[in-house]
């Protein structure tokens, strides 16, 4: 593995996606639990979710913008091919993003009457469920290696379905979509156990976290099975590659730790373990498709922008990080370290 500027930036894009999944992913998960709020503490659950999200969700959301911007700056051809092939799921995902964010503020700042609150709550919750599935489907489409730029050149035959639907609408893709939804819900439930006040409310989310962990387990195995047929690259890397065994071990350890910690009510530990588990799964995919940005043909080195752009971007990222990380630390210290 040669470490070029392009590889470093590809790594930074993955780190940004990782941050998006751990932070904004949990915000979507919050919407899922808003949808499934039930029992005697239904309103308390919704209030906790809303209280947890309000100050941070917009900052969390920016990680996705950073991913997109870095992708088109440093891997423009991969970005344009990805945007052509996944036009439909990306557009639907954008609808979800717009409706979720808007509905959330409309609920927070709109009229207090119940009907209005419920209506926006519904839109927020449903958009929070649909958007992660679409995001997962886009990732799934990349991982299958179905997106070949030659499909979109002028001379290529192929029907509309062949070019614009078949690459992403696969059982594997749907599986990854559901996996993303389960992971986001799992993260949210675990985080909320830490933020909840009172044992009863904590137990509500503890139970939800454990159910979500079960869902993650089942769906993850389903996705691995589907990869056997539909995503040869993932199959090869995760079953036979040199990283396969260590990957399964660390992911398994993190998953089991999260569950034990939840059962033992060690919620802070559970939060760390859950975040680690999701991170390992994400990087499992990244390692599996290395050195491709967009398999089967677009590699990191072949689609990278000229060296000068990459170097300047790295400088920009360095300066940006000096502003970003202290600010983020300040934000999270104010709103997330209130209960010790």
């Amino acid at each position: 593995m040669t470490i070029s500027a392009a590889v470093i930036i590809a790594g930074i894009i993955m780190l940004s996606l990782n941050a998006y999944v751990l932070l904004a992913g949990a915000d979507y998960g919050g919407g899922v639990w808003d949808f499934f709020a039930a029992g005697p503490r239904r309103q308390a659950q919704r209030d906790l979710i809303s209280h947890a999200l309000a100050p941070i969700w917009e900052a969390n959301h920016v990680w996705l913008i950073l991913v997109i911007v870095l992708l088109f700056t440093c891997f423009p051809f991969a970005f344009s091919t990805f945007a052509i092939a996944l036009h439909i799921p990306l557009t639907l995902m954008l609808f979800g993003i717009v409706l979720r964010g808007s509905a959330f503020v409309f609920r927070s700042y709109g009229s207090d009457d119940n009907a209005t609150q419920q209506r926006w709550g519904r839109v927020f919750a449903i958009a929070s469920i649909v958007t992660p599935v679409l995001l997962g489907m886009c990732v799934g489409a990349i991982a299958t290696g179905n997106i070949d730029p030659t499909m979109f050149t002028a001379g290529f035959g192929g029907s509309f379905v062949d070019r614009f639907i078949a690459p992403w609408l696969t059982t594997f893709g749907v599986g990854v979509g559901l996996l993303a939804l389960a992971l986001f819900s799992f993260l949210a439930a675990v985080y909320l156990t830490v933020e909840a006040e009172g044992t009863e409310l904590q137990d509500d989310f503890r139970a939800r976290a454990l159910w979500a962990a079960l869902a993650v387990f089942v769906i993850a195995f389903g996705v691995l099975a589907l990869a056997w047929r539909e995503a040869p690259m993932v199959r090869k890397a995760l079953m036979a590659g040199p990283w396969a065994l260590p990957f399964h071990i660390v992911t398994g350890v993190a998953a089991v730790t999260a569950i034990i910690a939840l059962v033992a009510r060690r919620f802070r530990l559970a939060r760390v373990a859950a975040a680690a588990q999701v991170t390992f799964i994400l990087w499992g995919w990244a390692v599996a498709q290395y050195p491709y940005v967009l398999p089967p043909s677009l590699t990191i080195s072949a689609t990278a922008s000229p060296e000068r752009t990459l170097t300047l971007t790295l400088w920009g990222l360095g300066v940006g990080a000096c502003v970003l990380f202290p600010s983020l630390y300040y934000l999270f210290r104010i709103f997330k370290m209130e209960r010790r």
Binding site: P55, V69, F82, G101, S108, T309, G316, L324
Partner: protein, 450 residues
């Protein structure tokens, strides 16, 4: 079938979708630049004077900002994807050159979102000083992110920082690509526009309320602060417009010709205001004509030669009617705002009470939406005026569009979504205004604070 029904090509659908997305997003982006400044001024005054009306004002403005910022953030996300979804060939070719300002904008936007969260939800959690500073950082980073995005747009108007070999960009220099001839005029014009538009929109709302309730301290304070931001910006905007016009005359003469509906190249060219451009007859009918006006404005010379549309092949003309009309709307309303600002600032300088002049309050109320109309019209001039190019003189918009068919579907879907959101936002803001304190309530609060 659907395509034939609307007679719309995919290219036109893509352009329309981009246009609708930008027109919608710009309203919220501008508010994200102007509103934080207003909030911070109000809060600062509260901290200094102890007048609780200022606190009430800062809080109410921050509710509005929260709603508008959220819609701006998500609609901005849509645009960052749409660059690829609609114009993949443009991003393929230009990504490496203009990615830099977008990356920097990403960090500015991060800062804005982080400190807005702190500002909105941190009233009781951080010190007074830290809170005012958080607001000031939101205001600053909001302006900065706007500047970075406009720098990227300026490159599309005056592309620099590369060598073109066989239609491909080589020898790329992203720094030079940020310092293009259009960058300074455009960012200056846009930043001033953001302050002028937000200031006058807010002033317009409070002036309207004051017409009915002239002694209301809440609305009086609000009007003063909003005009403090809006009036100076609107007053100097014509100067920045002059800088912009001269750069366009030099760098994009065909755009200038379309703006002015100026068909025939000539020395001592007249300025044409209004009128109906007729492309087939190569002339503009029914316009008010000011001899030598265009030469003077574009080059500051009585007899300067101004290239007309006839100096360019017709297939590189933008839509003359749209560009000329949009330009006249912008200049017309902008002039009104500048004159109104001059009156307001003179009265203020002579320590007269603005609120006691009902005609002036009415004028400010009418001026409320004008800044935003100017911004929409101005961007129409910039964007439609650059057509048929996406990168001026280098890449045609038609060659940049996605091969994805049926683009009318996302165009109509996004349009309906944005109309729906626009109605809801307007309704929520209207409710916020209705909830503002009545005249009688504002006096006791003042006493309470003292």
């Amino acid at each position: 079938m659907l395509l034939r029904l609307f007679g719309m090509t995919d290219l036109f659908a893509a352009r329309s979708q981009m246009g609708v997305s930008l027109a919608f997003h710009i309203l919220f982006a501008v508010v994200g630049i102007g509103m934080p400044a207003l909030m911070v001024i109000a809060e600062h005054r509260w901290r200094r004077t102890g007048d609780a009306v200022y606190l009430e004002l800062a809080k109410r403005w921050s509710y509005g900002t929260a709603i508008l910022f959220a819609v701006g953030a998500v609609s901005g996300t849509v645009i960052s994807f749409e660059l690829g979804l609609l114009w993949p060939e443009f991003m393929h070719q230009a990504g490496a050159i203009i990615g830099m300002p977008f990356s920097l904008e990403g960090f500015a936007f991060f800062t804005e979102a982080i400190f807005l969260g702190i500002y909105l939800y941190g009233w009781d959690r951080i010190s007074a000083r830290a809170h005012v500073w958080a607001g000031a950082i939101v205001a600053f980073s909001g302006a900065l992110s706007g500047i970075f995005v406009v720098i990227a747009n300026a490159w599309m108007n005056t592309p620099r920082g590369f060598t073109l070999v066989d239609g491909r960009f080589t020898d790329i220099d992203p720094i030079k690509a940020m310092m293009t001839p259009a960058a300074f005029p455009q960012t200056l014009h846009m930043t001033l526009a953001a302050y002028a538009a937000t200031g006058f929109a807010v002033a317009g709302i409070h002036a309207f309320m004051l017409l009915r309730d002239p002694r209301n301290a809440f609305h009086r304070h609000a009007l003063t602060i909003a005009l403090l931001l809006g009036a100076p910006a609107a007053l100097v905007q014509p100067l920045s417009g002059d800088i912009s016009a001269r750069y366009v005359a030099k760098q994009q003469p065909v755009k200038l010709a379309a703006m002015e509906a100026h068909f025939e190249t000539m020395k001592g060219a007249p300025l044409q205001i209004g009128g109906i451009p007729s492309v087939s007859e190569r002339r503009t009918k029914y316009a008010i004509t000011i001899p030598h006006g265009l030469s003077l404005l574009a080059f500051h010379e009585w007899n300067a030669e101004v290239k007309g549309l006839d100096a360019f092949p017709e297939d590189v003309w933008p839509n003359v009617t749209v560009v000329h009309f949009a330009f006249d709307v912008m200049v017309g309303l902008g002039t009104f705002l500048a004159l109104l600002s001059a009156v307001i600032l003179i009265l203020r300088w002579r320590k007269r009470d603005i609120v006691s002049h009902r005609w002036l309050l009415a004028a400010v109320a009418i001026a409320g939406p004008m800044g935003f109309i100017c911004i929409e019209a101005g961007w129409t001039v910039t964007e439609v005026g650059r057509q048929p190019w996406v990168i001026y003189g280098i890449l045609k918009t038609a060659d940049a569009v996605t091969p994805m068919p049926g683009l009318i579907v996302p165009f109509i879907s996004f349009t309906l979504l944005y109309i729906f959101l626009g109605v809801i936002v307007a309704y929520l803001l209207y409710q916020q205004v209705l909830k503002s304190p009545r005249g009688d309530d504002t006096v006791p609060e003042r006493v309470k604070a003292a």
